[in-house]
C-alpha cells in the first residue's frame, strides 16, 4: 500500500477507534438508571406506539403515578417520563424525545416546575441519560448550568473513573436495558406522618419564570400540533401552592386550563399519616390512591381512545407488581 494511502487508512481507523472508545466509555461507564426517573434505556425497550397516556414532569410525577395501577383499573397503558427536579425546558425536550417512539393520545404535565430554577442541580441525571440527538442537545443548553455542560456533551469527562468500581459483567452489558417493571414509577414504601400547610410564596425574581413560561407554551403548541390532549396538573401535596401561584399558571395555560388535584385530596382519600413520603411526594400507598382516582376520573374517556398493540404479558406483570411491590423500595 502506498504510504499516503496507508496514512489515510491509519488515520481514519484511529479516529474510528477513538470515536468507538469514547462511545463505549459514554455508554458502559455510566451507572445503570433503574429508579428515580430519567430511565431512558428502559423507556426505549417499550414496544413502539404501545402507550396510550403519558405522564411528564419531575419527581412529583414518578413518585405519585403508578401506570400498573392505571392499567389494572382501566386496561389502558401509560408511562411516566420524568426526572428529578425536571425543569419545564427539560420536560419539553423529554416530550419531544418520548414522541419519537410513542404516540400517546393524552399527556399529563405536572406544572410545579414552572417555579423551578433555570438550571437543575440534577441536570447530570435528567439530561445525562437522554438518548443522543437534537433533543438532548437542546436540553443541555436549556437546562444545564454552563459549568456542567461539558460533562453532558462528553460523558467520559464525568464517568471515566467508574471502571474502578464496575464488576466485570458491567463492562459488557448494561443492566437497565429491559422494560421497566414500573413503567417509570418510583416505588417508595416508607411513610412519614405529615402536617398540612401551604407552600412558601414564590419570588419570581429568583427564578427564570419567563423562560419557564416560554417552554410551557412550547409544550402546549407541541401537543396542539400533534393532536395530543394536554392536561396540566398540580400533584397532591401537604404544602400546595397558594392561589396567587395557581393564578400565574392559569394565566399561562389559558384554554388549556389547570387541574389542581389538591382540591380533590379528600376524594382521593389521602391520609397525612400514611400516604406521604415527604411533604411533596406520595409514597406507594398514596400513589395507589391517587392512581385509582385518576383511573376513576379519566378511565371512561380513555376507553374511547384507539386500541393499541401492546405487550399484554408485560402489562399484566405490571398490574401484578402493585399487588406485591417487592424490591426497589426506599
Amino acid at each position: 500500500m502506498k504510504r499516503k494511502t496507508k496514512e489515510i487508512v491509519a488515520l481514519l481507523l484511529s479516529l474510528a477507534i477513538l470515536a468507538g472508545g469514547c462511545w463505549y466509555i459514554s455508554r458502559m461507564f455510566m451507572p445503570d438508571r433503574t429508579f428515580y426517573g430519567a430511565g431512558w434505556s428502559m423507556y426505549r425497550e417499550e414496544k413502539r406506539d404501545s402507550v396510550d397516556v403519558m405522564f411528564v414532569g419531575s419527581s412529583f410525577v414518578y413518585c405519585d403515578v403508578i401506570p400498573g395501577k392505571l392499567y389494572a383499573d382501566t386496561g389502558r397503558t401509560s408511562y411516566v417520563v420524568s426526572a428529578p427536579v425536571c425543569t419545564v425546558a427539560t420536560s419539553y425536550y423529554y416530550i419531544r424525545e418520548a414522541l419519537r417512539t410513542q404516540s400517546p393520545e393524552q399527556i399529563f404535565l405536572e406544572v410545579s416546575s414552572i417555579f423551578f430554577d433555570e438550571y437543575s442541580q440534577y441536570a447530570d441525571v435528567a439530561v445525562g441519560y437522554m438518548p443522543w440527538g437534537v433533543n438532548r442537545l437542546g436540553a443541555i443548553f436549556a437546562s444545564a448550568a454552563p459549568e456542567s455542560r461539558f460533562g453532558l456533551l462528553f460523558p467520559p469527562y464525568s464517568y471515566h473513573q467508574r471502571w474502578q468500581e464496575m464488576e466485570l459483567p458491567a463492562f459488557f452489558k448494561r443492566g437497565d436495558e429491559t422494560p421497566d417493571p414500573w413503567a417509570g414509577y418510583m416505588y417508595l414504601k416508607e411513610a412519614k406522618p405529615m402536617e398540612r400547610g401551604q407552600a412558601e410564596p414564590v419570588e419570581l425574581e429568583s427564578i427564570s419564570f419567563e423562560k419557564n413560561c416560554r417552554y410551557l407554551q412550547k409544550i402546549v403548541e407541541l401537543c396542539k400540533d400533534r393532536s395530543i390532549s394536554l392536561v396540566c396538573f398540580m400533584s397532591p401535596s401537604c404544602r400546595p401552592y397558594g392561589e396567587a401561584e395557581l393564578e400565574l399558571i392559569r394565566e399561562q395555560l389559558g384554554d388549556a386550563g389547570l387541574r389542581d388535584f389538591n382540591e380533590d385530596a379528600e376524594e382521593i382519600g389521602l391520609d397525612l399519616t400514611t400516604d406521604f413520603y415527604d411533604e411533596r411526594h406520595l409514597n406507594f400507598s398514596g400513589a395507589m390512591k391517587f392512581s385509582a382516582f385518576l383511573a376513576e376520573e379519566y378511565g371512561e374517556s380513555w376507553q374511547s381512545l384507539p386500541r393499541r398493540d401492546f405487550d399484554g404479558e408485560l402489562w399484566s406483570a405490571r398490574a401484578d407488581k402493585i399487588l406485591d411491590p417487592d424490591e426497589g423500595d426506599v
Partner: protein
C-alpha cells in the same frame, strides 16, 4: 493558562494555525502577543512585571554593548544594575514574607518586627527571571551579542511553552531559532503530538493520581504507618518527576510545533548511579544555570577540596531557596549539598573500591542506582513535608517500618483504589522502560515516522488519559507542582 485545561487545548491549535497563516515578519510579534495572552490568563497585572523585567535586561544588555567594544567597568556596572533590579523584584515577591517571618521568629516577636505583606507570587517569576539574567550574563561575558530586536528578545523571555515552568533556556539556543522562518512540516507533527500526549499521560495518569496518596499522607503523617509513609515518599518522588517532566514534554512538544527546539530537562534521573550523576539528569536547565553562573565563577571543581565543598553547598542552598520560600526547601538543598560533599570526600575511597570491584558490573550498577534513588527519595521527603518536624517524623517512621511492621500495608486506604494503584504502577513501569531507552529522541522519531506505530502509541496514550486520568467534575484540578516555584 494551565497546560492541562480545555483552554490550552483550544489555545494551542488556534495559535498554531494563525502563526503559520501569518506572513513571516508578523509571526514573532504575534507569538509574543499570544505568549502574553497565555501568561495574562492567570493574572493580567503580572504581565507588566514580566515586561518590566524584560525591558530592564534588554536595556542593560544593549547598554553594555558587545564585549569586543571594551569598557569593562561600564559593562560591569550595567550588569550589576540588571542583577540588582531583577533579583530585588524576585526577592520581594518570593522571599520578603519568608524573611519577615524568619526574622520575627528569631526575634521572638508575634507583633511588630517586619510586617507581613499580602503578596501573590507571580507565576513563573523564578523561571523567566533566571532566563533573562542568564542572557545578560552571557552578553557580559562576550558569549553573546546583545539582541537588538526587542520583539525577539521579549519573545525569548516570554515564549509560552516554557514560560511558566521552564526549561530555563539559553538565549544562544532560542534566539537564533526565533529568527528563522519556520515552515509547518506535516511529517514533524506526529513527534510533537506524541511528546505532548506523553506529557499529559505522565501528568494526569501518574502524577495527579499519586498526588492523592501524597497529599493525604503529608498532611497528617501521624495517621499513617511507617510502611504507608514510605510508600507516600516513593509516590512523591514519582509524582514530582512525572509532574515536572510532563510539563517539559508538553512544553517541548508545543515549542516543536512552532519550529523551536527546547532543551531536555530530564534524562532518566532515576537511573542515576550517584547524586552527582542525578544532578546531570534532573532539572538539567536549572543545574546547568547554577553551574554556569554560580558554581564555575566561584571556582567550580578546579579548587581545593574544602573550597569545592563550599562551592557545592552554596549552589545547593541557593537551589533549594530558588524552589521556594520555606526552610524545608533550603534544607532539601542543604541535604543535596551534603550528599555531594560526602561524595567528594569519599572519592578516594570509591576509586580504591572500583579497582577491586568492576564499576560497570550489572549488580554494582544496580546497587548504585538503588542507593542513589533511596537518597533522592529521602531528600524529597524534606522537599515535600509541611515542616521540618514532619519530614523527620516521616523519615524516621519509614526507616523503622521493617522493624515496626510492614504489614498490613493497607495501601488501599491511602486514597486510591487497588485497581488504580495497579494501573499507576503499570504506567510507572512503562515510564521507567521508556526512560531506560538509550535514545528516547531516536525512539520517538522512529515511532512517529512509522505509520501504524505512531497511531497505536497515540491511541494508547489517549485512552490511558481518557480512562485513567485524574480529571472530571468531582476531581480538583492539580496544577503543575513547579508552578509554585
Amino acid at each position: 493558562m494551565n497546560f492541562n485545561s480545555l483552554e490550552y487545548m483550544l489555545f494551542l491549535p488556534v495559535t498554531l494555525a494563525l502563526y503559520y497563516a501569518l506572513p513571516g515578519r508578523v509571526r514573532n510579534p504575534f507569538l509574543l502577543a499570544a505568549s502574553y495572552f497565555f501568561y495574562m490568563w492567570w493574572e493580567p497585572a503580572y504581565a507588566l512585571l514580566m515586561l518590566f523585567s524584560t525591558a530592564v535586561t534588554y536595556g542593560c544588555a544593549l547598554a553594555m554593548g558587545p564585549a569586543r567594544e571594551g569598557g569593562a567597568h561600564r559593562r560591569r556596572a550595567w550588569l550589576v544594575l540588571c542583577l540588582a533590579v531583577n533579583l530585588a523584584i524576585l526577592f520581594f515577591f518570593k522571599y520578603y514574607n519568608f524573611l519577615a517571618s524568619s526574622v520575627n521568629s528569631l526575634l521572638g516577636r508575634s507583633s511588630g518586627g517586619l510586617p507581613a505583606l499580602d503578596i501573590l507570587l507571580p507565576v513563573g517569576i523564578s523561571f523567566y527571571t533566571f532566563q533573562a539574567l542568564g542572557y545578560t550574563v552571557d552578553v557580559y561575558r562576550g558569549e553573546l551579542e546583545p539582541e537588538r530586536s526587542f520583539i525577539d528578545y521579549a519573545l525569548f523571555v516570554s515564549f509560552f511553552p516554557q514560560l511558566v515552568a521552564g526549561p530555563i533556556e539559553r538565549a544562544g539556543n532560542i534566539l537564533p531559532q526565533l529568527k528563522k522562518r519556520h515552515r509547518l512540516e506535516i511529517r514533524d507533527l506526529p513527534g510533537s503530538v506524541l511528546l505532548i500526549l506523553i506529557g499529559f499521560c505522565k501528568k494526569m495518569v501518574i502524577a495527579d493520581n499519586l498526588a492523592v496518596v501524597v497529599n493525604g499522607a503529608f498532611a497528617d503523617p501521624s495517621a499513617y504507618t511507617g510502611a504507608q509513609l514510605a510508600f507516600a515518599a516513593l509516590s512523591f518522588t514519582f509524582q514530582i518527576y512525572c509532574d515536572f517532566s510532563a510539563y517539559t514534554d508538553i512544553a517541548r512538544g508545543s515549542a516543536r510545533l512552532f519550529g523551536v527546539s527546547i532543551m531536555e530537562n530530564f534524562r532518566a534521573p532515576f537511573f542515576a548511579e550517584s547524586i552527582r550523576d542525578f544532578w546531570r539528569r534532573w532539572h538539567i536547565s536549572l543545574s546547568g544555570w547554577f553551574r554556569s553562573y554560580v558554581y564555575i565563577p566561584l571556582g567550580g571543581s578546579r579548587v581545593g577540596k574544602g573550597r569545592r565543598i563550599f562551592n557545592l553547598m552554596v549552589v545547593f542552598l541557593l537551589s533549594g531557596l530558588w524552589h521556594g520560600a520555606a526552610w524545608t526547601f533550603v534544607l532539601w538543598g542543604a541535604v543535596h549539598g551534603l550528599y555531594q560533599a560526602v561524595g567528594v570526600l569519599l572519592d578516594p575511597v570509591r576509586e580504591k573500591l572500583y579497582k577491586a570491584v568492576p564499576k560497570n558490573a550489572p549488580l554494582v550498577r544496580a546497587v548504585r542506582i538503588l542507593f542513589t534513588f533511596t537518597l533522592v527519595c529521602a531528600a524529597f521527603v524534606v522537599f515535600r513535608a509541611e515542616s521540618i518536624a514532619d519530614a523527620v517524623y516521616i523519615l524516621k517512621s519509614a526507616a523503622l517500618a521493617p522493624f515496626t511492621g510492614l504489614f498490613p500495608l493497607a495501601l488501599g486506604a491511602m486514597g486510591l483504589t487497588r485497581r488504580m494503584l495497579v494501573v499507576v504502577a503499570l504506567h510507572v513501569v512503562l515510564l521507567l522502560a521508556y526512560d531506560g531507552l538509550r535514545d528516547k529522541e531516536a525512539f520517538l522519531g522512529r515511532v512517529s515516522s512509522t505509520v501504524w506505530q505512531k497511531y497505536a502509541l497515540g491511541l494508547f496514550l489517549i485512552f490511558s488519559i481518557l480512562i485513567f486520568g485524574s480529571y472530571g467534575e468531582e476531581v480538583p484540578r492539580q496544577v503543575f507542582v513547579y508552578f509554585q516555584f
